[in-house]
């Protein structure tokens, strides 16, 4: 049996990604077919955000990864003159 925290975190991740998938699927695939007067539209942002938010999040992720690589590479260079 995995530790309790492992299981909590693991199943938490599963639940979170299921919820995210359900919400996003509703937003992108289902909502266009629902009459614009229906109350369900109150729970969703305007449609443009369904593309803007993931794209911005993806760019931020790439930025973070790039910065991380630069920092790690910078720290691990061997100085030629100093003898540390």
């Amino acid at each position: 049996q995995a530790t309790a925290t492992d299981r909590a975190v693991g199943f938490g991740l599963v639940a979170f990604s299921l919820a995210l998938f359900a919400y996003y699927t509703l937003w992108i695939v289902v909502l266009p077919f629902i009459d614009s007067a229906h109350a369900i539209h109150r729970f969703f942002l305007p449609r443009e955000y369904a593309v803007i938010i993931p794209v911005v999040a993806g760019l931020l992720l790439l930025l973070f990864i790039g910065v991380f690589i630069v920092v790690v590479t910078w720290k691990s260079r061997k100085p030629a003159k100093k003898s540390e």
Partner: protein
């Protein structure tokens, strides 16, 4: 054909199918809700794949069973190697 070439071919096919349907070429009249749902489809598939990856990682973290004996054995190996290196002069 290499795996990369296969993947690129598949992506190119799907991409051109999507472009043909979604970018309103003259002569094709899909009903409006279908076009509205079709247009963000690449982003949607990316997000869906991300969710799947996250869920798989989470599930495997949750179901990876602890192996107490293997952990104890590994700790023993580590300490033995530690001792050995210390005897040969490596100081931490």
């Amino acid at each position: 054909m290499t795996k990369l070439a296969q993947w690129l071919w598949g992506l190119a096919l799907l991409g051109s199918a999507w472009a043909a349907l979604a970018l309103s070429p003259p002569g094709l009249r899909l009903p409006a809700p279908y076009r509205q749902a079709l247009l963000p489809l690449p982003v949607y598939l990316l997000v869906a794949f991300g969710c799947y990856a996250l869920a798989t990682v989470g599930y495997r973290v949750a179901t990876f069973n602890d192996c107490e004996e293997a952990a104890a054995e590994l700790r023993e190996h580590i300490n033995a190697a530690w001792e050995d290196l210390r005897r040969r002069g490596l100081r931490f």
